[in-house]
C-alpha cells in the first residue's frame, strides 16, 4: 500500500491536478487517491499552500482603473444574464400560452369532429328517408297510373258506417295501397288500426290518423289472396287485432 502511494506521489499527477491540466480520467484517479489516503491529501494541501505562496511572490500591483473595468464587465454580465432570465420567463409564458391554446383548439377540434359525425349520420338517415319516401311515391305513381290497377271502394260495416276508403291493388306489380278518405267519429280513447293478413299471418300496419291520412296512400303488404282489416282499438293501438271490432275488410 505504501509502495502504491509512493509511486503515485512520485508521478507528476498530483502537480498536474494542482494546475488543472489533468484529463478527466487522471482527475478521477487523483480524486480517488485524495479520498483514500491522508498522506496524499496532506501533500495536496501542502502543494496548494505552496502554490499560493509562490504565486504571491510574483504579485504585481494592478494598474489603476482595472478594478472598475472589471466590475463594469461583471455588471454587464449580470445585466445580460437578467435579460436572459427575462427572455426565459417570457418564453416560458409563451410556451404555456401556446400549450393552452393548443389544448383549447384540440378540444374544439374534437367536439367539431363529434358534431361532424352526428351531422353525417343525420344526413345518412335523411338520405335513407328520402330514398324510402321517393320509392313510395314512385310506387304510388305506378299503382295509380297502371291500367291493370284495380280500384276498390271500401265501406265500413255497421259499426262504422261513415268509413270510406279506396284501395288500389295491382297484381302485376304486386303493389297495394289504401287511401282512407273518411273515418267515423270515435271516442278519444280509441283509434283505428290497420291490419293485413298475409299468408296466414296478421301484420300490424299501424294507426290510421284521419287528419294525416286524407290525402295519403298507405302501402299495404302485397300477397295473393290477402285480406286487410280496419279495427277500432284502444288509443295507441294493439299488438293483435280485436276481431269483434272489425269495421272494414278489404279482400284483394
Amino acid at each position: 500500500m505504501k509502495e502504491k502511494i509512493k509511486i503515485f506521489l512520485d508521478s507528476d499527477l498530483l502537480e498536474k491536478y494542482l494546475l488543472g491540466t489533468t484529463n478527466d480520467q487522471e482527475s478521477l484517479q487523483v480524486e480517488r487517491y485524495l479520498a483514500m489516503y491522508p498522506e496524499v491529501r496532506d501533500t495536496y494541501n501542502e502543494l496548494q499552500d505552496n502554490l499560493e505562496i509562490y504565486a504571491k511572490l510574483h504579485a504585481i500591483k494592478t494598474p489603476d482603473g482595472l478594478r472598475n473595468k472589471i466590475m463594469a464587465r461583471i455588471k454587464s454580465e449580470n445585466a445580460s444574464r437578467r435579460k436572459f432570465f427575462r427572455y426565459a420567463i417570457a418564453a416560458s409564458f409563451a410556451a404555456i400560452m401556446f400549450a393552452g391554446a393548443s389544448y383549447f383548439l384540440w378540444n374544439q377540434n374534437q367536439s367539431l369532429q363529434e358534431e361532424n359525425i352526428i351531422v353525417n349520420n343525420k344526413i345518412e338517415t335523411l338520405k335513407e328517408d328520402m330514398r324510402l319516401e321517393l320509392e313510395d311515391v314512385r310506387n304510388q305513381f305506378i299503382v295509380l297510373n297502371n291500367p291493370q290497377t284495380k280500384r276498390y271502394n271500401v265501406k265500413g260495416n255497421n259499426n262504422a258506417k261513415d268509413l270510406k276508403a279506396v284501395a288500389y291493388i295491382n297484381p302485376v306489380k304486386k303493389l297495394s295501397y289504401i287511401n282512407v278518405k273518411k273515418l267515423p267519429h270515435i271516442s278519444d280513447n280509441q283509434s283505428f288500426q290497420m291490419w293485413a293478413e298475409v299468408n296466414g299471418e296478421m301484420i300490424n300496419l299501424g294507426i290510421i290518423d284521419e287528419a294525416a291520412g286524407k290525402e295519403k296512400l298507405l302501402a299495404l303488404p302485397y300477397a295473393d289472396k290477402a285480406v286487410s282489416y280496419i279495427t277500432i282499438e284502444q288509443k295507441g293501438g294493439n299488438q293483435t287485432p280485436t276481431v269483434e271490432n272489425i269495421v272494414a275488410k278489404i279482400d284483394y
Binding site: 504565486a55 510574483h58 504585481i60 482595472l66
Partner: protein, 187 residues
C-alpha cells in the same frame, strides 16, 4: 487569506453577489495579475487576461467545489489557463500576420511591485535558480514536464525532483521565520 474570509467570499460567489468579485480583486487581484503578467509577459495583455479571468470566475462560480480545491488554487487555474490561451492566440496571430518576433511586439514595462512584497521578492531571488526555472516553466509558461525537460535540456527525472523540492520544500528554502513573515503579509 483567513479561512473565514475565504468562506465568506465563497458564500457570496454562490449567492451571485457582485461583492464577491470586489473582495476577490482586493485580496487576489495583485497575485493573479502577477500570474497573468508572468505568463504573457506583457502589461496590456495581462490586463486583458485578468479581466477575462474575473469574468470566467464570475460565470463559473457555481462550479467551484471547496472540497476539491482551495479557493486560490481554483482562481490560479482559471487565470493561468486564460493567460496561456491568450498567449497562444496572440502567438498564432503574430506568426500568421506579421511574422514578427514575439519579444518585439510585447512592451516590457517596468513591474510596479508592491512595496510590501519587496523583501519577499528579494527572497525569491534567493531561491536557487535551478528550482525557479523549473517552477516558472511549469507554472507560468504552460509547459508540460516533458516540454520543460526538452526546452531546458534537463532530464525529466530532474525536472520532477526539482519541482517537488521547489514546491514541497518551499518552506525549508525560506525558513520558518520567513514563512511567518510571508503569511502575515499575505493575510
Amino acid at each position: 487569506m483567513s479561512a473565514l474570509l475565504e468562506k465568506h467570499i465563497v458564500e457570496l460567489l454562490q449567492e451571485r453577489d457582485e461583492k464577491a468579485i470586489s473582495l476577490l480583486y482586493e485580496h487576489y487581484g495583485d497575485t493573479l495579475y502577477g500570474v497573468a503578467k508572468k505568463v504573457v509577459r506583457d502589461e496590456e495583455l495581462a490586463q486583458d487576461v485578468l479581466q477575462e479571468s474575473f469574468v470566467k470566475i464570475w460565470k463559473k462560480s457555481d462550479s467551484y467545489d471547496a472540497s476539491k480545491a482551495k479557493l486560490f488554487t481554483w482562481l490560479f487555474r482559471i487565470t493561468r489557463n486564460t493567460a496561456i490561451d491568450k498567449l497562444r492566440s496572440v502567438n498564432t496571430k503574430t506568426d500568421k500576420e506579421i511574422q514578427m518576433d514575439v519579444s518585439d511586439v510585447y512592451n516590457l514595462g517596468v513591474d510596479s511591485i508592491k512595496p510590501e512584497f519587496m523583501d519577499v521578492r528579494e527572497n525569491l531571488d534567493k531561491i536557487e535558480e535551478k528550482y525557479q526555472i523549473v517552477l516558472e516553466a511549469l507554472f507560468f509558461e504552460g509547459m508540460t514536464q516533458q516540454e520543460a525537460s526538452d526546452e531546458l535540456n534537463i532530464p525529466l527525472g530532474t525536472i520532477k525532483s526539482r519541482l517537488k523540492i521547489g514546491l514541497r520544500e518551499l518552506k525549508k528554502i525560506y525558513g520558518p521565520s520567513m514563512m511567518l513573515a510571508l503569511l502575515l503579509n499575505l493575510m
